[in-house]
Amino acid sequence: MTVRLSDIVMQYPGTRALDHVDVDFLFSEVHGLIGENGAGKTTLVSILGGSKQPTSGTIAIAGVETALASAGDALAKGIAHVSQEGSLVPGLTAAQNILLGDEPRLGLGIIDTRALKRRATELLARWFPQVSIDLDAAVATLPVADQKVIEIVRALRGEIRLLILDEPTATLPAREKENLWRIIRSLPPRGVGVVLVSHFLSEVKALSDRITVLRDGRHVTTLPADEVSEAQLVDFMLQRAGKPTTAIAEDAESARATGETVMDIADWHVGGVRVERFAIRAGEIVGLIGLTGAGHFGFARSLYTGEGFLSGRTVFAGQPLARPDARGMKARGVAFIPDHRMENSLIGEWSVRENLAMVHPQAGARAGVLSMGLEEKAARTAMALFNVKAHSPEQRIQDLSGGNKQKVSIGKWLYGAPERYRLMIFVEPTEGVDIGAKREIHRHIRRLAAEGAAIIVASSDLMEVADIADRVVPFVQGQAAPALSRAEFSESRFIAAMAGDPQ
């Protein structure tokens, strides 16, 4: 018995989230679904869970073609979706949450509290007899793992044949994970298939019978979990169609003249990330690479903002520093170009000109008074430098394409007087950007390094760091691994480092 998705296409304006994907999910297996951010996992499980409808393609349950018009419709057809964020009402008890929306009633809309408790207890005992949870406790007071169990029991209260679990262990401590793993493994023998979406490869590998890999909205492969290594999975997730990394490494780029050390940190503990030693010199491009959740993005960001900083020693341009903060680092000559540009960098309702002027508005002002003429001139210069395609500097930023938005997000640091930065930190500089814009952005990064800036590029795009970095630091589960120098670049080395294999 299966749910089969055939030839699924999901088209959004400007992007195709799923491109002719075929997968089938058995009611007797745990089916791992992996891929990097943007690979299409979320879209695929949303279609499977009924909350999104594909642009084209067919869905068949047990061989019968059907449509999943809504989450409720999917539920009625035996497919339940437990999302990552959690959907419990924190102030209600576990029992109330399990039967939320389906409470036994005495009539006149009055809830039969005794029957409710009894049914919740029965449900929990039926599915997970080995688990003991205080069903009268408010959900907010329960351990996170128990909350996940409550969510799963609630999902299973109907006639469910397929359960979608979206990052179920993302927020759990290691010991509690194993309990949840046992619970997940116990479902297929009882006729409930599991679709497991997770960033933790070891978890997917350990739990799944089969694993499907998505990349850039395409189905890469589906294969039995015991026939594949974690390194091979990383390979499937990251490889870009037929471009050997080694060829790029020979790309006549000679080792850049490297200058003084710009930033030198030791024993950093920031958020969930520990970095023993990290130093970067002027003129150098250092890539930080890792799978999603490895901690390299947070680390890069904390170098500028100090967010999550717990302890560590920092020396910037020869001066010791207690803890970085955005304004202080900007004043020291650090630029930070974050990921998720619409959230972290741009103001959607503002024009291109206003967005460009955000970092150094003084450049468009005379004696503290903003001059529209000066601003427009400076904006046009920055737009020309970065080849930003817009009708005029007055066009609203939210109406531009991803690549042009990203160019503005970078260009705003170079608007006005072309300031020399000591350090520029990029996070996912080519996220959601077309190939042409990507090349241009890489060219600018190289130029800025050649002009003497130290550059950090944190990316989940293997090709990107291989393309531009002189040195790459792989991150694995919150730890920085030893750096690979340009001469050592090879796809297998990268893959091994990112999967955490000591090689």
Partner: protein
């Protein structure tokens, strides 16, 4: 049409529909104001006279000043619900100081200090303690209300106010009320700050996307605080002028400036840059409210009806803005 092309065409149609809506929005409020004005002019004989028009200007001057201050708050996405009582506070403070012999310039400086103090307290509650401005200023407003009544025993303060002070609220220069000049001054200052200085640009930035502004090196806490301080400062100045116009300090005189002030900003948000509070928009919003109040007064409609009409207008304005733009109030 292929499956790929359809969403794109739809997106284009949607965006052209959106820009047409935006165009309509920008000018429909002005059109409504014009129709309202023309309607009153044609149907009410005493409406279109020089003295009544000057009267309108005089009536809206304090409101415009309060609204201009609130515009800073809205731009930074901070709401100040204490402005009405701040108007009351300085409306009492200034006459009290004048009667006890303080010279006028010093008394006005006292109003500035009071406004600054209220704004500083509000902004500390919001940016340091972390209370949402809507709630913090609701509470400080309540406290100010109590202070206003306690300090006056609920009675008006009058008698012995110097002519120089009364001149501010009742006098004319070249046939035009002094209040009109004051209003113009505050509107110009507010417009200049918001549209032509880095200060104003950053107030809009923290309201537009606080995270993006802070990652660009903007001091978010400072600009959010500054916006709240400007709200209180402008309200305090309006309070001083109000006392001069009334010729007395009245503890409850400022109350209606909260709702009317918010209304001017909401109406203003339907024009110029729809969804964004602008000083120019607020000015037209105040004119709108002024024309309605005045016209309905002349027709002989009582104040309760006016209140209903204003409530409806606020609803319409906010409905227009929130349905056509991504309105972000809080």
């Amino acid at each position: 049409m292929t499956a790929q092309a359809r969403p794109l065409v739809e997106a284009q149609e949607a965006s052209s529909r959106k820009s047409r809506d935006q165009w309509l929005l920008k000018y429909s409020t002005l059109l409504a104001l014009f129709l309202l004005f023309a309607g009153f002019a044609l149907t009410v004989d005493r409406f279109l006279t020089a003295s009544n028009l000057l009267n309108i200007v005089q009536q809206i001057s304090m409101l415009t000043i309060v609204g201009a201050g609130l515009t800073f708050g809205f731009a930074a996405r901070e709401m100040d619900l204490s402005v009405g009582y701040t108007v009351g506070l300085s409306g009492i403070l200034v006459p009290l100081m004048l009667i006890s012999g303080v010279p006028l310039p010093l008394a006005l400086l006292g109003a500035v200090a009071a406004g600054f103090a209220v704004g500083a307290i509000n902004s500390m509650l919001v940016t340091l303690v972390g209370i949402p401005s809507l709630i913090a200023t609701l509470a400080t407003g309540s406290i100010l209300y109590g202070i206003n009544f306690m300090s006056t025993g609920g009675r008006a303060i009058y008698g012995g106010l110097p002519d120089s002070f009364l001149f501010l609220g009742q006098g004319q220069i070249l046939g035009i009320p002094v209040l009109a000049y004051a209003m113009l001054l505050f509107v110009l200052v507010a417009w200049f700050l918001m549209e032509r200085t880095i200060f104003g640009r950053y107030i809009y930035a923290v309201g537009g996307n606080l995270k993006a502004a802070e990652l660009s090196g903007v001091n978010g806490r400072f600009y959010r605080s500054a916006a709240l301080v400007v709200c209180s400062l402008f309200a305090a100045m309006a309070g001083a002028l109000l006392a001069a116009r009334l010729g007395s300090g009245q503890p409850n005189a400022g109350e209606r400036y909260l709702l009317d002030g918010l209304a001017t900003v909401f109406i203003g948000m339907t024009m110029i840059r729809p969804g964004t509070a602008t000083v120019t928009g607020t000015f037209f919003g105040a004119l709108f409210i002024g024309v309605i109040n005045n016209g309905l007064n002349l027709v002989g409609m009582d104040t309760y009806v006016q209140s209903i009409v204003k409530g409806l207008i606020i609803l319409v304005a906010v409905a227009i803005v929130s349905r056509t733009t991504k309105l972000k109030l809080l």
